[in-house]
Structure formats: structure tokens, C-alpha cells
Symmetry: C2
Subunit: 235 residues, 2 copies
């Protein structure tokens, strides 16, 4: 592992708790309008549209558009499905920005700060550049560069997203390690030549719903980011 | 000026003193090999190849390549022209990375830190992402996102570089202000709808060789970055 120079991160689920954040923002913005709902279920429904929407781009049926565009289209689907028809465009646009203000898991700011002493850090997320910059401001993170879907003009787990991230850092794929809480993301990164680290987020979709362990071979497996920092210092 | 949300920066000359930095690195790396030269003249000659090399990309005669590739080709030209023929490839490759370790002008770290309290910040440079990330590490800067030539796959002053920077921030061009020490850069940014701020770097090419004042209309004109921060707080 002597030649790892950079760590690139999945963000939704791995660094931020999108589920309770989205539930909170939705309740804050819609409840004052008289909307009643199960807000965690609302968040789950919105997130459930995420992979199918990206698949349109990954298959080439739709040219690359930023995640905001997909989130907004998905929001319309969810509001309709849950019977909330009287929400105007301005409210929808504002609620869509909830994805730019998600709360990090409690270990992340400290963990990234420790890791940055040793490695170049960047997100390799399906979120676009502005969304990543806003999440970093919101949570006090310091990225060296924002990598990911917008730079590659395609969505993970397509190989081009991982290889574009390494190339943008002037690094070979094996000098870059993908950090994620999702085995499929790490499997795709490894197939592109990146090193991989699994970080457990067992409560991503609610208590004991996330992956407790990687289901694919990985280079490192950690319980949180400070744990990962300790593992990497021992190498 | 109430709606400026982001500042994007020219880097070579505006934030870093490329001339004495390159002279220093060249002397450090080549003098021990027995090479004698006027190192400031060496730096000037290397830089003189910069615009012609980018023009190959801007005109479409050459597809986009990172600035490292152009710098390396230009280095070969300069070494040949100055009679230094016996420099091997490894030395040339190492010297080429001198552009990743340029020293900032003394006001920059403090100035960027003050400006970041109020604005989203990013470089909008012809340097590529890895070079920008390395310069930021070297000088202790905190960018929100790295914008510029690599993202646009073309070189300033082509309009696409400025408009791509604003679009990547999810902002309209008039919400973004280009900060530079070069009137031609600001003129091109303004033509794309960005606001503009001139920062004087009168010694860029040696004592009293830079532009003391903008030669085109600009929104702000400052003597250094802390001065710019003060001007923007008064708006």
C-alpha cells in the first residue's frame, strides 16, 4: 500500500446521512404548507428514484445532466405518488437544494482532516461540482479537488468516472483508493484499477439497513474514517 | 454588486510569482549538473513559449492536452535554444513539475482566507486540476472547487473557460467575478458576462514590468487581495 497518494470518496451514504437530512428538510419546508407525511418514507421514496434516473444517462438514452436535474424530476414523481399535488415550482426548486445541505456522519470532519495530512482528498460522487462544494462548506470539509460524475460526464459505477478521477490527479489508478460504504461502488472502482476501502455505515437506510461488511474483496475495511486513518498509518 | 456569489482567479502571475519560482527551481535542479545560465532569463524564455503553445489548442490545431504536456514541450525548446543539450528525460520531467510548486505573492494566503468568508472561491486558470491542487497545498489555500481549462477542455481567453466555470458553480455569469492581474483575461471574462476585478502585480516579469492599472473597464481595481476584500466588504 506504499504508493497510495490519494483517497477519493463516495459521498451519499458514505460521508453524509442523506436519509434523516432529507426527511428533516422536507418536513421543514412542506409541513408549514399543511402537508402531512411520513418524512423518512418520503426520503426513502425520493432516493429510490436515484438509480433508475441515473441509468438513463449510463445507458446513453439521456445525455449527461447534473444530479440536480435528476433529483428535481424524481421529486415531481415522489410528490405525485404521495398525493402532494399543490406544491408550486419555487417550493420544489428550494426543496431540491436539500441535497446540497446534508449532514455528515459524526466522524467525517475529523476523519477527513486526519486523512488529509497524508493523502490528497477528493469526492468521487455522482453529485455534481456545485453540490459537492456546497456540502463541503456545510460540513467544514477541505477537498483538494472535486472529482466525480460531472468531470466524467457520466455516472458511477461506469468505469470512466473512476479513471477520470485518477487521471485528473495526474495519478495512475493504483495510486488512488476509492472509499465507500457500498460494495458495488468498490467493486467497480477495483475493476478500473483503483485500491478500495470499505467504511461501514450500517444505518444508512434506517437502523441496521446498510452493509455491515463489504461483500467483495477490498484492501481495507474500517468502521469509520478515523479507523481508516489509523489503519493507513500502520501500513 | 450585491449578487456576486463567487470569485474565480487567474493564478500564474495573479496569485503566484512564477518567474522567481521557476528561476529558483531551475537553478536548484540544473546547476548541480554543471549547467550555467541566467536563471531569470531561463524562466522568461520558458514562459515566452506559453501563449504560442496554448494557441495550438485554442485554434483547434491540437486537441486539449494538460498544461504539463505543453510546459514539457516548451522546456525542450528552451533547453535546446539555450544550448543545454545533455539534460536527460528524468531531469526534464522533474523540472517540469516546478510549475506545481510556485510561491504565492505574500498577500495571497491571507487574502484568500478573508475572501472565502464571503464568497465561493476557485481558480479559473489555464493550469490543470492536479497542478492547481498541488499549488494550493504548497501555499496553504482552500479552494471550494477547481475550475478552469481542464474542466472546459480549452484555454483562456476562450469564452468557454469562463462560462464553464460559472455553470459548474450553478451560477449565472454575472454572479461570478474573475480576478486577474491581466487586462486581456478580464476583458474576455467580461465579454462572457462575468464581473471583473483587477489586482495589480507590477513586478510579474521583473521590477515594474507588469500592468500597474487595468487597461480595460473593470468593476473593481485593487492593489492586492486584502485590498480587494476591503473593497468588496464596502459594497
Amino acid at each position: 500500500m506504499a504508493h497510495i497518494k490519494a483517497l477519493v470518496f463516495d459521498v451519499f451514504g458514505t460521508l453524509v446521512d442523506w436519509r434523516t437530512s432529507i426527511a428533516h428538510h422536507a418536513e421543514q419546508q412542506l409541513a408549514p404548507l399543511g402537508v402531512r407525511d411520513d418524512w423518512l418514507a418520503f426520503a426513502d421514496d425520493w432516493r429510490a428514484q436515484y438509480q433508475p434516473a441515473m441509468e438513463e444517462v449510463r445507458t446513453g438514452r439521456l445525455g449527461y445532466v447534473k444530479l440536480d436535474t435528476l433529483h428535481r424530476r424524481n421529486l415531481d414523481v415522489v410528490l405525485r405518488a404521495r398525493g402532494h399535488h399543490a406544491i408550486n415550482d419555487a417550493t420544489r426548486a428550494r426543496l431540491n437544494l436539500a441535497w446540497h445541505a446534508l449532514q455528515a456522519w459524526p466522524d467525517v470532519a475529523q476523519g477527513l482532516s486526519a486523512l488529509r495530512q497524508q493523502f490528497v482528498l477528493g469526492p468521487c460522487s455522482n453529485g455534481h461540482i456545485a453540490l459537492m462544494a456546497n456540502l463541503a462548506r456545510h460540513n467544514g470539509w477541505h477537498w483538494d479537488a472535486i472529482l466525480g460524475a460531472e468531470l466524467a460526464q457520466d455516472y458511477k459505477p461506469k468505469a470512466v468516472v473512476y479513471t477520470t478521477a485518477a487521471a485528473a490527479l495526474d495519478m495512475a489508478p493504483h495510486e488512488v483508493m476509492m472509499v465507500a460504504a457500498h460494495s458495488n461502488d468498490l467493486q467497480a472502482a477495483a475493476a478500473s484499477g483503483l485500491r478500495t476501502a470499505f467504511v461501514a455505515r450500517p444505518h444508512e437506510y434506517g437502523p441496521n439497513t446498510g452493509e455491515p461488511r463489504a461483500t467483495v474483496p477490498v484492501d481495507f475495511e474500517a468502521s469509520d474514517l478515523p479507523h481508516l486513518a489509523r489503519l493507513l498509518r500502520l501500513e
